[in-house]
Amino acid sequence: MNEVFLPELGEGIKKATVACWHVKPGEMVTLDEDLVEVVTDKASFCIPAPKTGRLQNILIAAGEEATIGEVLGIIGS
């Protein structure tokens, strides 16, 4: 099991909003493939899949806010 974290985006940036998931729960995703996009002040940031596997859970849905370091979703083996 692998967690997809909201990474550090820059100094003073504490939160970002999930704009969209490119993969639906239950679907397979390949390492480094575009997985989830977050937006912060005037920037959109694409988070790649940290491993190959099935997207098990989306914990932060599109439109919701997450803090840096928070788990956005989980990829199963």
């Binding site: 985006l9 820059g10 100094e11 003073g12 940036i13 909003t17 704009a19 969209c20 480094d32 575009d34 996009e37 937006v39 912060t40 002040d41 005037k42 920037a43 959109s44 940031f45 694409c46 790649p48």
Partner: protein, 216 residues
């Protein structure tokens, strides 16, 4: 002098969608280790909506937009609704941000500083606006900014109103704000040479992003 580390692609007047396809190719090339690239262009009138753009920020009806020949495109950048039109210099820096601080806020601020310095070259005093991004002349917005980042490679960028027809902005609420837009031509009361603006941009960009001991 432009550093060899930086590749310049001046696309001239080009459809938004063509430039977007080109950007995607360059993003892949830069992510794979290719040279940082600056894409310069102008677009026919088009509205682009950022990821979280609200449709209500488009004030004109579909028919009105059609009559004016303005298309709408939803894209993967931060920010709200933006208008591109002839006379606006659009710059898409495709850079590996790992080599430039790997920090979205620092990158945005540095891009704004490039535009502020450029405007200063033309005798226009510009700066930030409290709580807002972009570059402003007093309370009038002159440069819009919105970026996308994938694998820490930047795309999209900034739009500088050089000789833009400002009446076109009446169809939207730029960036979701009730703001007055301005242009370099408006501030200087006369048309501005686009090539001079491009040259100044390259110079300032080089200074802020690829400084070298022999530069200035």
């Amino acid at each position: 002098m432009i550093d060899s580390k930086l590749r310049i692609e001046d696309l001239g007047f080009v459809e938004y969608s063509s430039a977007w396809e080109f950007q995607k190719k360059i993003v892949q090339a830069v992510a794979a280790g290719g040279p940082a690239t600056l894409i310069l262009c102008e677009h026919p009138a088009v509205l682009t909506l950022g990821r979280l753009a609200k449709p209500e920020y488009i004030l004109a009806s579909e028919n009105e937009l059609k009559e004016k020949g303005i298309r709408i495109i939803r894209i993967d950048r931060g920010g709200e609704v933006t208008l591109h039109a002839p006379g606006q210099l659009v710059v898409y820096p495709i850079l590996r941000l790992a080599g430039h601080g790997q920090d979205l806020r620092i990158y945005l601020e540095r891009l704004e500083q490039v535009a502020i310095d450029l405007l200063n070259d033309f005798g226009i005093v510009a700066g930030g606006f409290p709580g807002q991004r972009g570059v402003w002349v007093g309370s009038r917005k002159i440069v819009s900014i919105g970026i996308g980042v994938k694998k820490w490679v930047s795309f999209h960028g900034l739009a500088i109103n050089v000789n833009t027809d400002l009446a076109l902005f009446q169809v939207i609420r730029p960036c979701g704000l009730l703001v007055e837009m301005t242009s370099m031509a408006q501030e200087k009361c006369g048309a501005i040479d686009m090539d001079e603006v491009k040259t100044s941009f390259l110079h300032k960009f080089q200074k802020h992003f690829f400084p070298s001991p022999i530069h200035e």
